[in-house]
Every structure is written in C-alpha cells, then in structure tokens.
Amino acid sequence: MKKSALVLLVLLAAAIVGPWISSHGYAATNFNLQLQAPTLAGMHWFGTDELGRDVFVRTMLGIRMTLLVAIVASLVSLVIGVTYGAIAGYVGGRVDALMMRFVDTLYAMPFIFFVILLMVAFEQNFLLIFVAIGAINWLDMARIVRGQTISLKEREFVEAARLTGVSTARIITRHIAPNVLGIVVVYITLTIPQAILVESFLSFLGLGIQAPKTSLGSLVNDGVNYMESASWLLLIPATLLATMLMSFNFLGDALRDYFDARRAR
C-alpha cells in the first residue's frame, strides 16, 4: 500500500513539474529529428516521435491529462452518485424503490458504447469527455451512499434537524452528505482507475483527447503505428499507464480492506 501510494505521488509530481523540466515545447515539431531513439544529447530523454516532437514532454503532459480527466470524472461521478444515493436513501419508500430499480437497469448496459455514441454525436468535445466518463461510474457510488444514508437518517442529529423544521434539501446537503464522505473517498480511489481505463480506451481509438493535446492512451495509440522501428514510442507510455493503473488498484483494494475491517469492528 505504501509502495503504491509512493508510485502515485511520483507520477503526480511528474504530471505537475515534468513538463517544465524539459526545454522543449509539447507541440513543437522538428523535421530534422524524426523518430530519434532516447538519448541524453539534445535533451530528448525519451527520444522524438514521427514529427520530431519531444516524447519526454509529451509523456509528462500525457500523465497530467490522464490524471486530470480521471480525477475530474471521478468528482463528477461523486456528485451524481452522492446526490442520487442520498435522495433515494433519505426519501425512501416508493421513490427509493423506483430510483434503485433504475440503477439496476443501468447496470445491465454496456456503457462504454454509449459514451462512444455521445462522442460521435457531439464531436470530441473536451468538456464532454469529463462528464461522460463521470456519468458511467456513479452507480456503485449511489448504492453505497444510499445504504449509508438509510442508517444515518435515524440518528438523533438528523431527527433534531427535521424537528426544528430544516428542509429536506438542506438536511441532505448539510447533514447527510458530509457524513458519508469518508467511505466515498475510499471508493473514489477505485473509481479513478476505471475512469483512466475509459479515457485511455477512447483516446486509443482516436475518440478521446485530440492532438496536439495528448494523454497516455493517445500516446500508446501513436506508438502502435511505429512500434517496429521505434518501440520506445509504445513501450514508455504503455509501461507508465500500466504502472499507474496497478498502483491505483492496489491502493484502492488496500484502503477498502482497511476501512471494511474498521467498520466491521
């Protein structure tokens, strides 16, 4: 768990300061230096791509973009999931049954294809990527929050708020939501790798982040075209993406076990 957290911190640091370390621009092309292997000379530590762009800067920006999309998308899923789950759990009765039936129905759908459909319909809109990926992952969140809310709403402080005439909307936002945040934060760690997968899948197919901007998924896609002559273009982003996903999964698993053990006590 500590190792995973450490790896993620390094990746986060790379995403923040990485692009500044190198003197090259991420979109600057140099047609005298196409597909150059990684070298210390000329500061192209990860080599150059087919347009002579510096791969180090592009990789760092790719990490940044991948993390950014994943985190923002997870926040979107957090907002939707917490709101939905808290309302269903707090209102209860027939509304709850109907809302949860809807969630069950959505579970049976291959969401990724709907995201692609959205991408086709609305062009590759940058903001849409965040929202669409966030909209996939809120189902688990809604279920967890609903369960928590049902046990919270019988507690004295919620009852006291209700008796003093606080409105339902205010009770949910001010009293229920803050109290479910702990468990929600743990599940976010498991939502982030899923969001990364979806984003890089879309970018790999050319439907996600558009050039000259880049993400780890689109870097892998670029690398595939030149893997026979310039394998580093594929191997560097592929390794980083795999490392990132594994670290999130290990960390999320460990955190969940830790919190579950604590709650079981």
Binding site: T105, I116, A121, S200, G217, A242, L245
Partner: protein
C-alpha cells in the same frame, strides 16, 4: 420455474426499449445533421436527402418508425458506406467477431477456472501467490496495452506468430487476438473461482465428505465445483460486455475486419445509423446474456426462484 423465466423475460424488455430510446435520442440530439459536413449541397438536394431518410418528420414519429424497423431487423441504410444497409454490414462483420469472442470466452473459462481452483487448493502457497499476482496484473493492464506489446514481442521481435490478419491464413492468426482478448477475463475468472472455491471448501458438507475418506480429486469434481461456479456464472454478463469492448481494440490492433472495426470506423466517420445499430446489437447481446445467466441461476439454485 416457468413463472420465474417469464418474469425475467418481462424485466429485460423495458431495459432493451430504454437502451434503444436512449441511443436514438443521443444521436438525434446531436448538433448538425448527418449531411452537414458534406460539401455544400443545394437546399433542394438536402431537402430531398432528409425526406428520403425521413429526417423531416417529428422525432416521436421517427422513433416509432425506427423501432418498428429494428424489431424487423432493419437498422436502415448506412450514411457512409453507400449502397450498404447497416444490417448488411453487421452480417459481414459479426460472424468473425462472434468467432473471436466465443473462443476468448471459452479460453477464459477453461484457464480461469483451472487456475483459480488450483490456487484455492494450495492456498497461500507459492503457486497461489504467483497466480494471484499474475491475475492482478492481468486486471490492471488494459487490452490496448497488452495487444500491441504482445505483437511487438511475439510477432515483430521473435517472429513466432503472424502479426496481421490478412496475408496469413490458418489457425495461427487466431492465437494472438484470442489470447489478448481472453487475458483480463482469465484474471477475473481465476480470482472469482479462487475466492468461491475457498468459501465452499470451508463448508460442513465438504468436511463430512473428507471425513468419509473421499479423495480430493473426486471431492472437488463432485461436490465443490458445482456450488463454487455460481459466482463465476453471474460474472458472464459483465464478461460479455468486457469482451465486446475488448474486441473493438483487438480488431483495430490486429486489423481484423470484424464488427468492432466497423464500429470504430463508423464512429470516426460519424456514420450515425451504423453506430446506432451496432450499439443496439451490443446492448441486446449483453441484456440477453444477463437474462440467460438469471435463468441458469434459477435452474442451478432453487432458492433464487422463490424470491
């Protein structure tokens, strides 16, 4: 049992309708029509095109019409592949994708269940730990990373297997795509099987069978595997969805002319009807698989039917 089956079937139909409605709305809410990025056509031509494809009618009417056609298996004409209907394109691409998917699924079940059972029987041994770290790796690394890396290693560097689809024939060209597609599913199935077998092994009836002197082999085959397979069975629905998603990537990387490739091309070319048709087909497959799993569950576990 019949009542249970019918109830499940009745539950799947609204889901399917919801899927079709959602997909239809998404495509039609898009800014700009399917012909808006064509070279400037005269208004008369556009009007005729819209009339031809019934785009001038009100949306609910279009939807009812589309739904009626879909039920008859007609997804309309493709907007980009001129002279082809979407159904014809599906008929061209689907058999190959189905073959790939079915092979990957069989491989995943065979290897996953064997590995999971072996790991569970020697819990905490070196074999168990090796298999489980392998499984965690398989789950974490996406198909579109595994596929090109395997091609680079096995086809380009070592030249053991053909890299592309066209130009090579025989069974060898199936090996890499199927293995790549199956890998993450092998990992999931192995993890599920292991947890489930360990759980069943701790039950009383297993202890009794052991006390009666049953050999481990017979015990596992006769008493353990059947109840242990229930969680694996319920994973089949998500597995189908994952294999469909994965096949899009695998077909793209290996250049296999299947449905996944049509889907990606259609998405990049903004071929609305083609993408809409394939999404509906994929969703129906997933829903049908979930339905089948529900019914099989009812067959295998009578308690489920009572609820």
């Amino acid at each position: 049992m019949l009542r249970y089956t019918l109830l499940r079937l009745a539950g799947a139909i609204p889901t399917l309708l919801l899927v079709i409605a959602l997909a239809f709305l998404m495509v039609h809410a898009a800014p700009g029509g399917p012909f808006s990025n064509e070279r400037a056509a005269s208004p008369e031509v556009l009007e005729n095109l819209e009339k031809h494809y019934r785009l001038d009618e009100p949306l609910p009417q279009q939807f009812v019409h589309y739904l009626g056609n879909v039920i008859r298996g007609d997804f309309g004409p493709s907007y980009r592949y001129v002279d082809y209907t979407v159904s014809e394109l599906i008929a061209i691409g689907f058999p190959l994708s189905l073959q790939l998917g079915a092979l990957a699924m069989m491989l995943a079940l065979l290897v996953g269940v064997s590995a999971g059972t072996a790991a569970a029987l020697r819990q905490d041994s070196l074999l168990d730990r090796a298999l489980m770290s392998f499984a965690m790796t398989g789950i974490s690394i996406p198909v579109f990373v595994v596929a090109p890396v395997l091609v680079l290693l096995l086809s380009v560097k070592l030249q053991w297997l053909p890299a592309g689809w066209s130009g090579s024939n025989g069974a060898a060209k199936f090996i890499l795509p199927v293995v790549t597609l199956a890998l993450p599913q092998i990992a999931y199935v192995a993890r599920l099987t292991r947890a489930s077998v360990i759980d069943v092994l701790s039950r009383d009836f297993v202890r009794t069978a052991r006390a009666q002197g049953l050999a481990t082999k017979t015990l596992v085959r006769v008493h353990v595997l059947r109840p242990a397979m229930l969680p694996v069975l319920s994973y089949l629905g998500p597995a189908i969805a994952a294999i469909l998603t994965g096949s899009v990537v695998v077909e793209e990387v290996f250049g296999i002319p299947g449905l996944g490739q049509f889907f990606v091309r259609g998405a990049l070319n903004r071929d609305y009807t083609l993408v809409l048709g394939i999404v509906i087909l994929y969703a129906s497959l997933v829903i049908a698989m979930n339905l089948l799993v529900d019914i099989l569950y009812g067959v295998l576990d009578p308690r489920v039917r009572q609820r």
